[in-house]
Amino acid sequence: MREIDKRTRVSRRVFLRNSATVLPAAAAALAGMTIGAEEAWAQGATTLKPHTMATLARMARDIYPHDRLADVYYIKAVAGYDALAAKDPKLAKMIEDGVAALDAAAQKAQKSTYLLVAWEKDRVALLTAAEKSPLFQKLRGELLVSLYNNPDVWPKFGYEGESASKGGYINRGFDDINWLPTA
């Protein structure tokens, strides 16, 4: 069967378009970015707190955890909220309040901010309790597009995206399955 190249690709162009105000111009080592409030990508936020940006990325990872995806894809999925919050004070407040509430619950249950709770299981318990909150609802719904509609993640799942410009699959493996039992 015709296989797919699954090596990590992070297109800088799309990243910058989605997160113009968050990323420092250098946008260095995109693929190596990790989730943390002290990271440059979070520090670059202008409206939301760096801690809030990092918490959103951690929430994204806990909502749709894929071990095959590096942190950068989750960071990319939430990076745009800083620019949106800059234009929409109500949204900014909703996000900051949502993160503060999550942290308060985390302090009570785990004596830590949500971001630093060590085990996914414990963070998921906090998210489950917050499932009906506006922040969770918004993030979960929008991640379906911001995470899964990123062409950079498609090869990781073996999805090839657009095909018409390549002539479709008629000569590229539409019927190349070779492991089925023969009658």
Binding site: I4, P65, H66, N149, A164, S165, G168, Y169, D175, L180
Partner: protein, 522 residues
């Protein structure tokens, strides 16, 4: 290309340009009848289509607000998107998968065949298969349906091969790549299928039949057809004698216009067509046009559907090639021993990764969900299409509060599964899973119905004016120069995809309308 005057009251005005309206418009134009088609959406051509699920959805889908109620899961998951259909020239024929199946004889006689089912509002069609056969034949020829007219079937893709291997292991006999209105070889100036995938996003090769690049340009070439895109009809007008005289629509600039007409045919799909008739209420017709029976908007059907995805330990890559790449027909017969009346088809289906994430289990999150998505590459998928029961409480009404940008009440859609639908779905989930397990599936996912693509029955055809909205020609019982030309005419839904029947009815209706006009009956 023709251009008709707004005051030209000799034209036939058709509302909608999809399988029903687009076909009717061309057929009438070919007979020398002057036609204006008013289409709510814009005009995209093949070059404009994009192989990108969300971008294409934004380009083509009808996303104007609708509201929902009832126990169907769509009302919870997609409360303002009960249907996945198209607002564009060509209507949902840009989006459809291409499956073109004829009703079986008994499916035109559901009330007689199934008997009196409690909680269902079954009725026999006023037409029979024998009467429809010549029109089905014309439709198949027009659309280039594979497996008819000597047209070879399409080659099977990976998704089909998994389905076929599993189905044969289970002993199913009628398994093939379907009767598809997708060219398997060049025909009628259109090329052969390139196995692009993205059938739902508009066919980039034009191999799939759509009124957008077949019926509509052919009709326009006669000089008798004018298509006006971005024209949303909000009201149908009538005279003191109770005959319809024209329509009021909002044009691309947001201005109201009035097109006069000799005959009006409504083909805006099973939500918009009854909505328009209800929104056209007047002192003479206080319950809406053509609604003396009270049946306008009732008996909404959406097929018993659902999907099954099977996960294997090796890749399938189901998205490569045609979306609906094959069919199992053995469960389509009426066999009440299974615990339900009517039957269902199993047809391959694939979604790209973005839509799989959106539709696999809406609302779900965490590892139970992501472990399924992790297996995307190793998935095969099928869609279930079964006959659902018409119920007079499943209906389209005008929303009491929500209005569109033109100030018109939006369609509110209520649907509850009938127990027969639920029993059939459970059976189909079991059989679909068994097919995949027979060839080594390690997991299967019984996936809930998507927003409806088959929307039927809300202006149904009936022999008696008491029981339905239109007669056997799609002519409303109450107003002789007002017709319905889309799937809302369906008396019952049968166990098959509706487009071929919509097209066959439209060809037949064009003949009837031209005859009535010639005889000065309308």
């Amino acid at each position: 290309m023709a251009k008709f005057d707004l005051t030209d009251g000799s034209v036939v005005c058709i509302i909608g340009s999809g399988a029903g309206g687009g076909t009717l418009g061309n057929e009438l134009a070919q007979k020398g009848v002057k036609v204006v088609i008013l289409e709510a959406g814009g005009r995209n051509e093949i070059a404009d289509f994009v192989n990108d699920e969300w971008a294409s959805f934004t380009q083509l889908a009808w996303t104007d607000m609708r509201t929902t109620s009832g126990t169907w899961r769509v009302a919870r998951d997609f409360p303002n998107l009960p249907a996945w259909i198209v607002k564009a020239v060509g209507g949902t024929t840009t989006h459809w998968a291409g499956a073109s199946l004829r009703f079986q004889d008994y499916e035109f006689k559901a009330r007689t065949t199934y008997g009196n089912i409690a909680g269902a509002n079954l009725l026999d069609w006023p037409v029979t298969l024998a009467e429809m056969e010549p029109w089905y034949a014309k439709a198949e020829d027009k659309m280039g349906t594979t497996g008819t007219n000597g047209i070879p079937r399409l080659p099977g893709n990976n998704n089909y091969k998994v389905l076929a291997a599993g189905a044969k292991k289970l002993g199913y006999k009628e398994v093939h790549t379907g009767n598809m209105s997708i060219n398997s070889q060049p025909r009628h100036d259109r090329g052969a299928c390139q196995q692009i995938g993205f059938c739902f996003q508009g066919c980039k090769s034009g191999a799939k039949w759509s009124t957008l690049y077949t019926e509509i340009p052919k009709g326009e070439a006669t000089g008798n057809l004018e298509v006006r895109p971005n024209s949303m009809v909000i009201h149908i007008e009538h005279d003191a004698a109770g005959k319809v005289t024209g329509v009021v629509y909002v044009d691309a600039d947001g201005k109201q216009q009035r097109q006069k007409a000799r005959v009006i045919a409504v083909a805006g799909n099973s939500f918009e067509s009854p909505r328009l008739l209800l929104n056209s209420a007047s002192s003479r017709f206080p319950n809406g046009l053509a609604n003396s029976s009270g049946q306008v908007g009732r008996n909404y059907m959406r097929h018993m559907t659902g999907s099954v995805y099977g996960v294997f330990d090796k890749p399938v890559r189901m998205y490569r090639g045609t979306t609906m790449a094959g069919i199992v027909r053995d469960e389509a017969a009426n066999n009440p021993k299974r615990g339900f009346v009517g039957g269902y088809e199993l047809e391959t289906l694939s979604l790209g990764l973005p839509f799989m994430a959106a539709f696999l289990n809406p609302g779900a999150w965490g590892r139970a969900f992501t472990s399924a998505i992790d297996d995307y590459e190793n998935m095969a998928g099928l869609w279930i299409v079964g006959e659902d029961m018409p119920r007079d409480t499943n209906r389209v009404t005008l929303d009491a509060k929500a209005k569109d940008k033109n100030g018109m009440p939006v369609a509110s859609v209520h649907y509850d599964d009938h127990p027969n639908d639920a029993a059939m779905r459970n059976h189909a989930y079991r059989q679909g899973s068994a097919i995949y397990e027979a060839v080594g599936a390690v997991r299967t996912f019984p996936t809930p119905p998507y927003p409806s693509t088959h929307n039927l029955g809300t202006n149904r055809m009936s022999a008696s004016a008491r029981d339905g909205v239109v007669n056997k020609w799609g002519q409303t019982h109450d107003i002789k120069n007002l017709f319905v030309s889309d799937g809302s005419q369906f008396t019952t839904g049968a166990a098959c995809n509706p487009t071929l029947t919509i097209v066959a009815l439209a060809i037949r209706q064009a003949d009837a309308i031209a005859g009535m006009m010639g005889r000065k009956e309308i």
